[in-house]
């Protein structure tokens, strides 16, 4: 028997209107926080899983590595911002090594990739535990407290997180659409053989794209570090949902990534308020499965697998 939660409106009938606005804005911001994180973690997956067809189960560890980078920088006296700078670099380094040592040898063996990356994920987790010791690591946020947004009061750090995520996304869009490297990536993705034909070093492009995705995931880890637990095993919490973002959104476009993140993150946040969070999580995942059945190529675009 669980006591039923009182609906927000009945708490104080005279305050219905401001409460409603407050409720809507806060829900929106909660959803945005979740969407931002999903988007950043999903971006790397969209590249490796969606475009290169590499199922990287160690992707969650990039998030972990990013968060540990912030912890490490803080623990040796650096500021959070310095740590946040180190996070994507740490992610990129691990990603680059992983691509070089393992993934590039397995592009033609997708199932082996699953096994090998899962193994790597275990090794990274245990390695972090042996290096930094048991247990969660403390990370202090750069600013404490809340910000008054007129309709509602919201934690300042979360607003920063949302802003950084949006800027990063914008940067990625520009990178892909405006730079020659972005053009290379798009060409390789469209048709690997043809890209090789016109003289693009696809091996290098793959490696850089993979590393880039790892860096973004590292950044995501750095951003969530003050907000959530920092632990060698934290990555798995983000992995499954990020995969769903990519599957639901469809591969091959930033639009799909955004659509997938909004679907998973938005639905989770809204449902969490209505029903038991465990049920909400199950429903979101089931909805994702059904969505995939109905729109096999993704909510947003028609790119095929």
């Amino acid at each position: 028997m669980r006591p039923k939660a009182c609906s927000p409106a009945c708490a104080n009938a005279s305050q219905v209107l401001p409460d409603t606005m407050d409720f809507v804005v806060t829900t929106l911001l909660n959803a945005l926080t979740l969407i931002s994180i999903l988007m950043l973690v999903g971006l790397g997956l969209a590249i490796s899983f969606g475009l290169m067809n590499v199922t990287n189960l160690a992707h969650g560890e990039f998030v972990t590595v990013g968060a540990f980078a912030v912890y490490f920088v803080q623990s040796v006296g650096g500021s959070f911002w310095l740590g946040l700078l180190a996070a994507p670099i740490a992610g990129a380094v691990v990603g680059c090594i992983l691509e070089f040592a393992i993934i590039r040898h397995l592009y033609s063996r997708p199932v082996s990739t699953v096994l090998a990356t899962w193994g790597v994920s275990l090794i990274l987790q245990q390695g972090l535990e042996l290096t930094f010791g048991l247990g969660a690591k403390p990370v202090t946020p750069p600013i404490e407290g809340t910000l008054d947004l007129f309709f509602t009061v919201y934690p300042a750090y979360r607003l920063i997180l949302i802003a950084i995520a949006m800027l990063t996304l914008l940067g990625v869009v520009l990178l892909i659409s405006r730079t020659s490297f972005g053009l290379d990536i798009r060409t390789v993705i469209q048709n690997r053989e043809m890209a090789e034909g016109v003289g693009i070093n696809t091996r290098r492009t793959y490696a850089i794209a993979f590393t880039f995705g790892a860096a973004i995931a590292g950044l995501a880890g750095g951003l969530v570090a003050p907000l959530a637990i920092v632990l060698p095993q934290m990555g798995v919490n983000y992995l499954a949902n990020a995969f769903f973002v990519v599957i639901v959104g469809g591969v091959g476009s930033i639009g799909g990534l955004v659509a997938g993140s909004v679907f998973v993150g938005g639905l989770t946040s809204v449902l969490n308020y209505q029903i038991s969070p465990s049920l909400a999580q199950a429903i979101v995942l089931l909805a994702a499965i059904v969505a995939v059945r109905l729109r096999p190529n993704g909510l947003f675009n028609g790119a095929s697998r």
């Binding site: 199922t55 082996s112 090998a116 193994g119 499954a240 199950a282």
Partner: protein, 328 residues
Amino acid sequence: MIARDRNWLVIFAVCVTLAIVYPFFADGYQLTVIRDALIFGLFAASLDFFWGRTGILCFGHAAFFGIGGYIMALTTLNDAIPLGSVLGILGAIAGAAFVAAIIGYFLFFGGIRGSYFTIVTLAMGVICQQAAVSWSSVTGGDSGLIGIPPIAFDLGGLHVDLSQDLPSYIFVAAIVAVVVLALWSISRGRWGMVLTAIQDNEVRVAALGHNAPLRLLATFVLSAAIAGLAGALYVCMAGLVAPDLSGLLLSTEVIVWVAVGGRGTLLGPVLGAIAIQRAQQTISSFNPSLWPLLLGCVFVIIVFVLPDGILSIYARLKSLFNGRRPAQ
């Protein structure tokens, strides 16, 4: 092909012989250890039947193990149900098959294959474990259900009581042998050939008039049903069922067993399950924190050094003696 079949049967016969001889040298405790390992071997074989034959990796196979276990537990713990053990096992098989049929319908007919299938089934495992934890009025929550009686029934004059170590060992070993042999016969006949063809080129198979998604679905359902059977057997032997028996960790472990034992060999995964579990418990008694690290390395090594599993060592050695390259 014929030679490979003969090899398989030889190894199978050796394993059966070892299983028959083992009770003469082992005490009750050692029997229970191997008995439980065999149940997980059956579970590994069930995954191998799907993964090995279709090339599609299911990352949530423990969900079916857990579903089977919970159905068995709920059936046998309810005194109002007659023939609890028999109905429990049948229910476990049917329940796991039913869930697999629903999930599989959405996935296979939705055109989900390969890595996408892997990820969706991974989430399915997560949901199952969470459901088992949260839905405590039925599942007993995170501590699970305890006091599940051993399998015992009278059916048409046949009296079965598996509360003792030796009968339960014989019962489990017999089931594992029969199921593995049956799966092997299925997978080398028409069914297996079509599945191999689907693995090569699914569109082509469909263009020949085969309902490929249905074939895949049927394979998945059969695989899940056997996983459910394994789950039902395990909870009776252990006396309890708990949420982590349907969780991600077990799903991962079973993949290792199959990969180490040799994907697609059905027998290899059983041996892999026994070997790895014994190794895990022995190593963890010496140095607990070493185990996860070793496990990770095993994954990576298998992929690069032994992509066909330990069972392939035999073939490799043989071809080494004959001076030939191993057939791939």
